[in-house]
Structures are given as C-alpha cells and as structure tokens.
Symmetry: C2
Subunit: 185 residues, 2 copies
C-alpha cells in the first residue's frame, strides 16, 4: 500500500465562506498521526504556508520524537514520526514522487457531494489496493477551497452516517474514512 | 435503533495502571456528541463522579444549547443537546430503563481483546439491529478498569487497523466503532 494523507490548512474556508489559512490544532496532529500509524499510512503531511504554524508543528514533532515526549510515550513517538510539515500540496506531491517514482493520485475529501467529480468509497478502495500512490486530503476549518479541489483527481463521496447531519470534526472524519478505505474489517 | 453511548471517566486507568477518575476533555464532548448526532445515537452519557467535572461539562452544554454558542453554531447545538452528565453507570442504566422500559445491554470497548467475553463487530451489530436497548461504553485515559468491565454484558473486539498499533484516541476510536456498528456504508 502506498497511501499518504495530507491535512490542509490553506486554502480552506472560514465560517463566513472566506478563503483563509487556518491555525494548526496540535490535537489533530496527534490524533491523525495515530490513525496514520494504525492504518499503515506511509506519511502524514501537515500542509501550511505560515511560518509560525510550521514552527509550531515542528516543535510538536521534535518534542515527541526526540525530546522528553519520546521517552514519556514511545507509542506516540512511533505515530508522530510519520508527520512531515510542508508549505504546499505541490511540495507533498514532490516528496511522494521522489519516494515512489511516480506522481501520486490526489483524492480530496469533503462533507458535501461534488457532482461529476465524486468517487465512491469502493472506487477509492480499489485504487489504493492496486498499489497506486495516493495522497488523501483532508481540509481543516470549514473545509477545502473549491478551486483547490479542482486540482485533485477525485473527491471522495461524503460520509453518510444514519442521518443527514454532516458536521464531524476532521479527526473523527479521517478515522471513519481511513477505516472504510483501508481497514481490514 | 435504541443505541446509547457512555464516556466513562471513572473507574479508568492512568499511565501507571492505577485506578483514577480522569478529567473531562471538552473536545471529547464536542467530537463524540457530533458522532452521536451523525449515527442517530439517542443519548450520550458523560459519566463522572466528580462534582467539578460535572459542572464543567454542564457549562459546556449550557453554552452550546442555550448560551452564545447556540446562536453561533446551530449544528453544534443539535449535537450537544444529546449529552447528559451522570455520576455513575448505574444512573445511565436507570435513565435508559426509564425511557425504553427495559434494562439496556452493556457493551464495553477496549483496545485489547478480552478472552471469553469478546463480542465481534458483527455480533454487536446484530444485537443493535434487533432493537435491543444498548449502552456502548468508551473509556478515557488509559482505558476502562477491568473490574468495571466485568459488570458489562460484552466487551467489543478491538479495532484492527492494518498494523498491531492500538493506541488511538477515544474520539477517533469511537468514530470507527460507531461507523462499523451502525454506519450505512
């Protein structure tokens, strides 16, 4: 499996539907890194163009992989070492291309269905199973910018729970999506 | 469906395997309440015997259901109104028995397999589908106390991702478990 994930902090929407760069939530780094480790994801890209936010993420990584945290909790270290901070999606794509020898397929996720561009869980699962390199992209704040999404190859169909409610946190949405796409259940 | 969930703050283990009452993580309330709303859970019990922690949880609920938060984000209100703070599992059981006219079945969750008492995801899914009242219990901190677990009817098999790593946050574990048990996918 050559699955990568990316947590996008720019360009995303704020509550008023304006394009912004969101702040890092350190808990997202922990929760999603642990998911990455659980589901054999090769690398977890934290994508932010903001210098101070990159520094914050790097400090978290350093604490848990080399600092006090690495001794306090070795399980956390195993997860956090999968995190790579990059300024843009392009840099994540470059990194994967260099490792895998091929450009990765980009699959965005969204809480709403994107007509014509939507791929089913089954379809995405099949692509990943064929050993195609894939970066699965998650948006922070109020979700990925629509123009940004048009640069991806597919947009994954939204999670349907048992109701029309579609306001999960990115942490829990990432958990459900990874389990549906690559869980052994 | 007559599914309830409970987030247990006592008795749970700390890192040194000692029995403790854990502090409320307000983010857990938000994330798990949104999951409850997504998956048509009837009520989300926050179980803590500590007065100050009960007050903290009640303040969060009040802010989002009646205070400023209820106007700021109505989606959050819809989720948070499912939360009920109770001092013990017994009180949660009583509340369900009163609503449903029958004692609920108790299914604990754990990151490790509990020999002899383990129920599969398929088995638990079938029970819930039969309209049996169920409280699904999640432990905070380092997980549910073993003696506490013997008071439940079943312990759900652990989540198997794609690796032996079993150190997810309770938020993301709850997401995966609810999706496996009652997701329509």
């Amino acid at each position: 499996m050559r699955l990568y994930i990316g947590l996008v902090h720019y360009p995303v929407y704020n509550k008023n539907n304006e394009k912004i760069a969101s702040a890092i939530t350190t808990l997202d780094l922990h929760d999603i890194a642990r998911l990455a480790r659980t589901y054999d994801v090769k690398k977890f890209f934290v994508i932010t163009p903001l210098d101070d936010q990159q520094e914050l993420a790097e400090r978290v990584i350093k604490h848990w992989t080399r600092g006090y945290g690495s001794k306090y909790n070795r399980h956390r270290k195993e997860a956090i070492k999968l995190v790579a901070v990059v300024p843009s999606l392009e840099r994540a794509v470059d990194a994967v291309a260099e490792t895998e020898g091929e450009a990765p397929l980009l699959i965005a996720t969204d809480a709403s269905r994107q007509e014509n561009r939507s791929i089913s869980f089954e379809g995405a699962r099949a692509i990943i199973k064929q050993e195609q390199s894939v970066i699965l992209l998650f948006g922070t704040a109020w979700g990925l910018d629509k123009t940004f999404m048009t640069m991806t190859d597919h947009v994954l169909e939204p999670i349907s729970g048992r109701s029309e409610y579609n306001h999960l946190s990115v942490r829990t949405a990432a958990a459900i999506i990874l389990d549906r796409l690559v869980g052994r259940y």
